[in-house]
């Protein structure tokens, strides 16, 4: 699925406790809701201090160069953010002068195909999902972003809540078919 991580589709799937599956899905839905309700500070608080929020660029390679469909880590990415940069993006939205979000977009994040994979660290899980992100702006602008994510979710020791420690986003577009990406995925 995603170049920087091996596909898990054919991996040996340990049975996931349905309660854990539900807990993580509910977390992802709540997180999506925070974005759609423009509660960006609360959304930002879900990111761990060491978060890596990353979206590579994509290409049309020839079959024999299939490994080049996604940009490498040292190449152009659409997002390659740490907590500080995500914070600047959120602060910018609060200025009232961020013209691509003034007036703000209406977004709807749909999350599906949630698959959970335990890691060696018992408190961390890799979580794959597909997403559809509908954006409607101004009088009649519409963008549709579709892709897959692989998050690293971490259960906090203190209160048992979840944190996002890594978000890797594979957007299914080579040329980005939107005049900007002023939203979060």
């Amino acid at each position: 699925m995603l170049k920087h991580f091996p596909s898990l589709a054919l991996a040996d799937h340990a049975a996931i406790d349905p309660a854990l599956q539900q807990e993580i899905e509910q977390f992802l839905y709540r997180e999506a809701q925070l974005l759609d309700e423009r509660e960006f500070d609360q959304w930002l608080a879900l990111m761990s201090d060491d978060v890596h929020y990353y979206m590579p660029t994509r290409y049309n390679p020839m079959k024999r160069a299939a490994g080049e469909e996604f940009s490498a880590p040292d190449q152009a990415a659409l997002f390659d953010e740490d907590k500080q940069n995500l914070t600047i993006r959120v602060k910018r939205l609060h200025t009232g002068l961020a013209w691509a979000e003034e007036p703000p977009s209406r977004t709807r994040h749909m999350v599906s195909n949630v698959q959970i994979h335990p890691t060696a660290d018992g408190a961390e899980f890799e979580v794959d999902c597909n997403f559809m992100l509908y954006r409607n702006r101004l009088e009649r602008d519409v963008d549709l972003f579709v892709g897959a994510r692989r998050d690293l979710l971490r259960k906090r020791a203190d209160d048992g809540g979840w944190q996002i420690a890594r978000r890797y986003i594979a957007l299914d577009q080579t040329t980005v078919l939107a005049s900007n990406m002023s939203i979060f995925f």
Binding site: M62, A76, A100, A178
Partner: protein, 459 residues
């Protein structure tokens, strides 16, 4: 629509057509008729008279280092393959099979030994020469290889790593075409020994606006920055700094070339690069590489000129220091594809290159916190121009017409104050002269006349 094409291209006499075009752009008074951004027949004429006549940016040398390396790009709306040849030279040819016009190669880039059409299998070598036709003996007898080879872009030349192509055999050589602008673009291309390279990969996205909004802004418009781009500056400031005290620099100049290119920049004020680029990239530019840049380019270019915006007419733009380089590919009168790269000094430390990679994607890309604001302006202007009355309203490009030349000793060519529109007027004058000319000879005459008129006005 058909009537308009007739009006501009066939129906009227040449003199009538020219007077109609000249009514659209008045650089002496600083007025633009916004039909130039919106009219389909003018756009078709642009493809012929601007894009088929100018040197257009194709690729950076570092994208195609080895034999057979290719990059799939566009000249205007024409798909073009740019390929490194066996002898190290670069060729460019139309990405179109000569048999039925199918695209020869649909990968974005890569390495090829030949290009074989997926429709009927006509095959071309990496120079675009037709080398194989399936069932040729029985089906054709013989196909004339020379006549049916891929359509070569006749002029290909490079300037300090940037490869350009031209369709018009009569286009002046690239250095003449760049003119005095070479002195300015060397700020980005020739700061240190070894030249530049582009970071792997690129950003491509679509903005529903006319290409001239983007080209003009990068040629001439520092004026928008304090208003369009205040939010990223406020958000990036350290918490102990009061945003209301963080003013924009006031000292600087702009330059306008008779060839239509333009740039503007601040004098001094290197500190504003730090919040935009981060410590590592900004320190490299402002401190670490500055002594060598000063030794190569002098004090003015090596250290004092900062925050420059630039356009090479018509559609290549860049920001030296921030190091984004982009082409505005036209897609009809009301849409562009932005193709953007990050350009870095080849010999810069790897960590600096990576800092630049991140700084550019965070500021100037489809998700960049400065770039987002620009698209908003261009898109909305374009949409407003659907209105009958809106597109009858002339635009004001008169800033600086009556304030006199504030040229700076040591800057070549025609210069003015940084917050001005002289370079925009220069760009539109060149555009007009191209649109009114049938040939490079005629264009050179018109440009010389326009320059003389402008000098007279200034005197």
């Amino acid at each position: 629509m058909t009537n308009k094409i007739n009006q501009f291209r066939r129906g009227n006499s040449e003199a009538q057509r020219i007077s109609e075009l000249e009514a659209l752009v008045d650089t002496r008074e600083g007025r633009i008729n916004p039909r130039i951004y919106q009219d389909e027949s003018l756009y078709q004429l642009e493809l012929e008279r601007v894009f088929s006549r100018s040197w257009l940016y194709l690729a950076h040398e570092s994208q195609i280092p080895d034999k057979g390396d290719f990059f799939n790009t566009y000249m205007g709306e024409d798909p073009v393959l740019v390929v490194r040849q066996e002898d190290g030279t670069v060729r460019a040819f139309l990405n179109q099979c000569r048999h039925r016009g199918m695209k020869l190669c649909r990968a974005d880039s890569g390495n090829a030994k030949a290009f074989s059409c997926s429709y009927h299998g006509w095959t071309y070598n990496i120079g675009g020469d037709l080398v194989d036709v399936p069932f040729e003996d029985r089906a054709y007898g013989e196909v004339d290889r020379e006549r049916w080879s891929a359509t070569r872009v006749p002029r290909v030349a490079a300037y300090k790593g940037l490869i350009f192509g031209g369709w018009d055999e009569d286009v002046p050589d690239l250095e003449t075409y760049l003119g005095d602008m070479r002195w300015y673009i060397d700020i980005m291309l020739d700061r240190v020994e070894g030249g530049t390279e582009v970071i792997g990969g690129m950003h491509k996205w679509v903005i529903p606006c006319n290409w001239k909004f983007a080209a003009e802004q990068f040629a001439s418009d520092m004026y928008h920055a304090p208003f369009s781009h205040s939010s990223p500056v406020i958000a990036s400031l350290p918490p102990d700094i009061d945003p209301s005290q963080a003013g924009w620099p006031l000292e600087g100049h702009q330059f306008s070339a008779p060839e239509g290119h333009g740039t503007g920049f601040f004098i001094g004020a290197p500190e504003f690069l730090f919040p935009l680029l981060g410590e590592e990239a900004a320190s490299y530019y402002v401190k670490d590489s500055a002594p060598e840049a000063v030794a190569r380019l002098g004090e003015l270019r090596g250290q004092q000129m900062n925050g420059a915006h630039m356009t090479i007419f018509p559609t290549l733009s860049f920001l030296p220091g921030i190091n984004t380089l982009r082409v505005w590919h036209p897609r009809g009168p009301a849409e562009i594809e932005v193709w953007a790269w990050t350009i870095v000094d080849r010999k810069a430390p790897e960590s600096v290159k990576d800092a630049y990679r991140k700084a550019v994607l965070r500021t100037f890309s489809s998700g960049g916190i400065l770039e987002q604001d620009d698209g908003e302006n261009w898109t909305e202007i374009q949409r407003v121009l659907r209105g009958h009355h809106a597109r009858r309203n002339e635009f004001n490009v008169g800033m600086g017409l009556h304030t006199g030349d504030s040229g700076h000793a040591g800057l070549p060519g025609k210069t003015d104050y940084v917050y001005g529109e002289m370079a925009a007027r220069g760009m539109y004058q060149r555009w007009l002269d191209m649109m009114c000319s049938d040939s490079w000879a005629q264009l050179n005459q018109r440009t010389a006349a326009a320059v003389a008129k402008e000098e007279q006005r200034r005197a």
